[in-house]
């Protein structure tokens, strides 16, 4: 029997038999279902994923009519990352005119609200110029990045140092202090960029520092939507599971630690966000098929439980993509098609 060419979650090439591929898909969806307490994929859906992953082609795509909207986090930063020497406005034009992007995102290379606040006037002026030249909708994006508020980088005691010393209440107090500062920065920067004309604000890599990071973002979203009801806010996550770094934080009576995407989206909606971006982590020891089946299972449950558009994160290391700097096209296109056509989401 011919072996199926595929990859592991670290990007390395591997070959699977048909039965091994089927087993990986079944185990991937089962893992998500058990962890998230959501429904596993049906036999038909697993069969569809099998067809996608057993296809011999280098590249696969969705069927005509199934295309979705693509939003891009850290767009201008990524052109800089690969060493292309362009001005940020030129980077946005590359996304708009060359990459066929449906939306673009203006951002600073130090991609955090805290870092951007002192130079906000420069960010506003350049965004205003970009908006004159661009036609596609534009986000301003940055990370809540609660960790940047701790010593030695920030003013708050470092809770990662306090916790191993057993100073739990001090660590929690430090997180709460950091949260208040982060909310102020997110609201200040979000307001300024919206006043300059941005179509939306993207809180990217939300909850990277756990439950206080998530709560700060939800509260900043609430405040911004109260101030600007028409503002589009996208909340994109850092990972699939809210880490309980504090452990006792709640939003609208719901404990944040331990929430998976289908529960995260409920709170994101309550806060007033417009678009939600779940991020499902990739396991490098498992095949891309296993990872995609797992990511699609979590995302499908999230789509089913949401009233707002869902744009799954599908960069390197999330959404069934391998954890490599240059994700192979065969892996990206398979995960892309699988995610769109099985989870029935609204964008990536």
């Amino acid at each position: 029997m011919q072996k199926i060419y595929t990859r592991m979650g670290d990007g390395s090439v591997t070959e699977l038999s048909e039965s091994e591929l089927k087993q990986d898909l079944e185990e991937g969806t089962r893992d998500a279902a058990e962890r998230g307490k959501v429904s596993p994929l049906s036999e038909d859906e697993l069969s569809y994923l099998f067809d996608i992953y057993s296809a011999p082609y280098r590249f696969v795509s969705v069927e005509h009519g199934n295309e979705v909207v693509l939003s891009y986090d850290a767009a201008t930063l990524k052109i800089r990352r690969v060493g292309v020497s362009t001005h940020r406005i030129q980077s946005l034009q590359i996304y708009e005119k060359i990459l066929g992007a449906d939306t673009a995102e203006f951002d600073h290379v130090d991609y955090s609200f805290k870092s951007v606040k002192p130079i906000i006037a420069y960010e506003q002026t350049e965004l205003e110029q970009a908006l004159l030249m661009m036609t596609i909708p534009m986000f301003y994006g940055a990370m809540p990045n609660l960790g940047s508020y701790t010593q030695p980088d920030g003013p708050c005691p470092n809770y990662a140092d306090l916790m191993p010393q057993g100073k739990i209440s001090e660590a929690r107090a430090a997180q709460e202090e950091a949260m208040e500062l982060a909310i102020k920065d997110m609201v200040a920067v979000g307001s300024a960029m919206y006043e300059s004309g941005a179509d939306g604000i993207n809180f990217d890599t939300t909850a990277a520092a756990g439950d206080p990071d998530f709560l700060a973002t939800l509260r900043a979203t609430e405040l911004l939507k109260r101030k600007y009801p028409q503002m589009c806010i996208e909340i994109g996550m850092a990972g699939e599971f809210i880490l309980g770094m504090h452990g006792e934080l709640t939003y609208d009576g719901v404990r944040l630690a331990g929430l998976y995407p289908h529960r995260q989206v409920e709170l994101v909606e309550k806060a007033g966000a417009t678009i939600f971006g779940p991020a499902i982590n990739t396991n490098t020891d498992k095949s891309c098929a296993w990872n995609t089946a797992r990511a699609v299972t979590f995302t499908k449950a999230c789509v089913k439980n949401s009233h707002i558009p869902i744009h799954a994160n599908m960069g390197m290391g999330v959404g069934g993509l391998p954890v490599v700097d240059q994700p192979p096209t065969d892996a990206v296109s398979r995960a892309s098609k699988a995610m769109v056509e099985v989870s029935r989401l609204d964008g990536l």
């Binding site: 005509h64 939003s71 908006l131 030249m133």
Partner: protein, 111 residues
């Protein structure tokens, strides 16, 4: 990676009507099906036509909604000009268009 996703499952941005569908998600919180149907209805085309770069290039040229190959169409709407027309077509508020109007709308007063 961005180009792989765009080719595999993206609407196509300004090559098609991807930016218009995105605007309905962003301004009205519409899911993809509803957003596509809304834009198709406004353009009086089928939903499947929204992702066709040939049909949509012609449509964008006819309606002056901004195009990819702007150098081939001197005098066509670009950037903020196209967004004025998109706001009118889709019957939505576009933040930077409104702020542009505010900035140029005030009376010039020389002290």
């Amino acid at each position: 990676m961005a180009s792989a996703h765009s080719t595999a499952s993206g609407m196509g941005g300004m090559r098609t009507a991807g930016d218009l569908v995105a605007r309905m998600q962003m301004s009205r919180g519409m899911k993809i099906k509803e957003a596509k149907e809304y834009v198709a209805n406004k353009l009086k085309v089928s939903v499947s036509a929204l992702s066709d770069p040939v049909l949509m290039s012609e449509m964008r040229e006819d309606l002056n909604l901004g195009m990819v190959s702007t150098s081939l169409f001197p005098g066509s709407a670009k950037g903020i000009e196209a967004k004025f027309r998109i706001a009118e077509l889709l019957d939505i508020e576009i933040n930077c268009v409104n702020r542009f109007k505010d900035r140029i709308g005030g009376k010039l007063r020389v002290l």
